[in-house]
Amino acid sequence: MTQALGSLPDSTSTPSMNLLQHTKALQPQASDWPGVSLATSHDEHAQQRVLILDNTVDPTILKDHLNGVDRIDLHFPKFTDGRAYSQAVMLRRRCGFTGDIRATGDVLVDQIVQMKRTGFTSAVLRDDQNAQHAQKPLTQFVGFYQGDALESPLFARH
């Protein structure tokens, strides 16, 4: 298992997206916030403090509580449910969270670009997904029009 931290929103380099095929199950515990649970991830490198958010949670309520959090897992119950994209944007843009944001659940290779652009830095692909298929879309477009968690809008880059 590789370290999942990608580059941060204010970075000028294009961050990589860490695609994971399998991960160890976490043992989450309830927190003071509804829809938010806590866990510790043990991988070969280190222990990580992980927050796990339901996709109904407004992540900005956690703004002042993200110190020491290494990773936040955002969930896609169905790949067509796009709420976690907004959560990731809020965590990056408004909460200033610089740790790993991980996509879990119904995570398909064809949505990886959206995930990366909204601020995700790692994604646990659904079992049947072929990570090879995600590589091309990640670099296919040379740029996008609107600003996202990584870049400013095209008109501001002129």
């Binding site: 796009g82 994209y85 408004r94 064809d110 949505q111 909204t118 029009y145 609107q146 400013s152």
Partner: protein, 602 residues
């Protein structure tokens, strides 16, 4: 019209390439139907009743003659089903009539045969095809990209192609040209990573004139360009309009928004919708349901989010003056060609005396910002072809006219016609004669036979009933232009199902296809308005009663119109008479036209 930058051009080519990769994976079994579905939808590819359907994006309706020719090529080359598929489809369609309870009617409604090899103009100013094989889909997208076109976000639960006034940039009553803002929003919404999987589709319309010609209030977001007391330009923002099974017009949530804040504000609207819009019930997933249920809270939350975007986030999408100028420059009025004159003076005199020409001048020719120019509508509402359908030849010959008479620019209109926005006033006689030779000069724009109709149960998988046979039946009955002119401006809108692609809710006379025990029936509504000056405050029409058989619909229309003619006051339009006399009186007349229960004898 908008001129693509190298970035725009590369972008649509890359998008076509991305779609090809996805299609190849799908066709080789590596991408399931379910997972491919939103990907193809967000490129405009549906799977319909018999074949895929492609919806090509025409941002705010603008097309160049070159693009018209490419659309013709696609129709000719790719809108070609396998003969066995086409025959089987026709056979299935024939069964609808064969099994119809009303087939023994003395004057049966004959359904036109299915057609192939044509393009269809839609109410949202886009272009559709009904028979392109999925295996050709990537080639078609490449062809579109070669003329700066695409199908991006013409479907799917995302921000759809943006529509506007067909007279944008040329209307005398314009406050500001909405197209640069449409383009700025098109760019912002294109492949927006956060808003690619919203609870449901999201449609935006922009109007920049005093009269609303874009059915603006009927959209998820409706934007009216206005000037405030200080003369500054901004938007009145409406949210929560939509048709479907819950027709509602949008409510104003911002009286005046400075234009530079438009993206920041819409980001707030869509983010709040993405969070709170219902995902448990597809029929309650549009933003209109959220706004209806929680209007005050919704508005509050949007305003709060807008403040956070502009203050906390620093307003990353505040549009600088320089960007508006850059985009506006792409919409500079084209160089005008020389007027085309009818040299033969005898011919010209005869023409001037021709009532059909005079009627065309009155109905199909609109005033222009530039007093020496006119905007001319080619009518795609004629006997023998479905409303808004165009053959490759008609598209190519229209492209010729567009080049010679309108500086190479045309517009797809909300009412499914093609408008030429840059025509010299002196060119009108010559243009009329040429349009007439093409069969596109019926002087019926705005009249009853200029009806809006969706493709309906001939092609659409969602339809409960067919629209095209009914439209053909009505066109056949109402051919007499004298009669049509006497009846005056009437919006007749036909939808084959409650999804309302034919905008039946906003028709003065609306017709909705419904399914009762596997049979086609039609619900009739009266008094709907799209928000134009003619139609008044936007509102859904009211249902006159239980649905009618296909034979009765025409009788109902005739009865309602006869009632109008009998009771109208001097020069009073149908919709005004309906409002004055009252819905109930027309409702009664409509229900009188019901046939004796012929159904039981079948």
């Amino acid at each position: 019209m908008y001129q693509y930058t190298p970035f725009d051009r590369q972008f649509v080519h890359l998008r076509a390439q991305q779609f090809r990769d996805q299609l190849v994976r799908h066709l080789s079994g590596q991408l399931s139907d379910e997972e491919f579905r939103p990907l193809r939808l967000q490129n405009g590819w549906y799977v319909q009743r018999y074949a895929p359907m492609l919806r090509v994006a025409v941002p705010y309706g603008e097309l160049s003659s070159k693009q018209l020719r490419a659309l013709a090529t696609i129709a000719r080359k790719y809108d070609k089903p396998e003969p066995t598929l086409f025959e089987a489809a026709q056979h299935t369609q024939n069964q609808i009539d064969a099994q119809s309870l009303v087939k023994h009617h003395p004057n049966p409604v004959r359904a036109p045969s299915l057609t192939q090899g044509y393009a269809h103009f839609t109410t949202r100013q886009n272009v559709q095809y009904n028979w392109i094989a999925l295996s050709d889909a990537a080639d078609v997208m490449d062809l579109l990209a070669s003329v700066d076109m695409h199908g991006i976000q013409t479907s799917g639960n995302c921000i759809r192609n943006i529509t506007s006034d067909e007279l944008a940039g040329v209307a005398p009553d314009e406050i500001a040209d909405p197209r640069p803002f449409g383009e700025i929003l098109r760019q912002w919404s294109t492949l927006h990573p956060e808003f690619a999987f919203l609870p449901r589709k999201f449609k935006i319309a922009i109007s920049g004139a005093k009269e609303d010609r874009a059915a603006t209030a009927w959209h998820d977001v409706g934007l009216f360009l206005e000037r405030n007391g200080a003369g500054e330009l901004g938007f009145k923002v409406l949210v929560g309009g939509g048709m479907g099974r819950t027709p509602i017009t949008g409510v104003v949530i911002r009286e005046f928004l400075p234009w530079s804040q438009i993206i920041n504000y819409l980001e707030a609207v869509v983010r709040v919708y993405n969070r709170w819009g219902r995902r448990d019930n597809i029929y309650k997933a549009r933003i209109k349901i959220l706004v209806k249920a929680e209007r005050v809270k919704f508005t509050q939350e949007v305003e709060e989010e807008f403040t956070r975007i502009t203050v906390d986030d620093g307003g990353p999408h505040t549009v600088p003056e320089s960007e508006l100028e850059r985009v506006s420059r792409c919409f500079v009025a084209p160089a005008l060609g020389q007027p085309v004159l009818v040299e033969d003076s005898a011919k010209l005199l005869t023409l001037q005396a021709d009532p059909a020409y005079q009627r065309w001048l009155q109905q199909n020719v609109a005033q222009h910002k530039n007093p020496s120019l006119r905007a001319v509508t080619l009518s795609f509402k004629r006997l023998g072809q479905a409303p808004g359908d165009a053959t490759p030849e008609q598209l190519e010959r229209s492209a010729d006219l567009v080049e010679r008479y309108s500086s190479g620019e045309a517009r797809v209109t909300h009412s499914q016609n093609l408008l030429l926005p840059w025509v010299h006033e002196e060119s009108l006689p010559a243009l009329y004669l040429e349009a007439k030779a093409l069969g596109l000069a019926q002087g019926n724009i705005g009249l009853l036979s200029d009806m809006i109709a969706c493709p309906g149960g001939d092609y659409c998988a969602l339809a409960n009933a067919r629209s095209i046979p009914l439209a053909a039946h009505i066109s056949e009955r109402y051919q007499d232009l004298d009669e049509l002119e006497d009846l005056g401006p009437i919006d007749l809108h036909i939808s084959g199902c409650i999804n309302s692609c034919g905008h039946h809710h906003s028709g003065h006379i609306g017709i909705l296809g419904v399914d009762k025990d596997g049979q086609e029936w039609y619900q009739v509504t009266l008094g709907g308005s799209d928000g134009s000056d003619l139609s008044g405050v936007p509102t859904p029409g009211r249902v006159v009663g239980p649905s009618f058989s296909v034979h009765e619909v025409l009788d109902v229309i005739e009865a309602v119109l006869a009632h109008y003619v009998k009771h109208r006051q001097h020069k009073e339009t149908f919709i005004d008479a309906l409002k004055r006399i009252g819905f109930d009186s027309f409702k009664e007349v409509a229900n009188h036209a019901r046939l004796a229960p012929l159904v039981s004898v079948a």
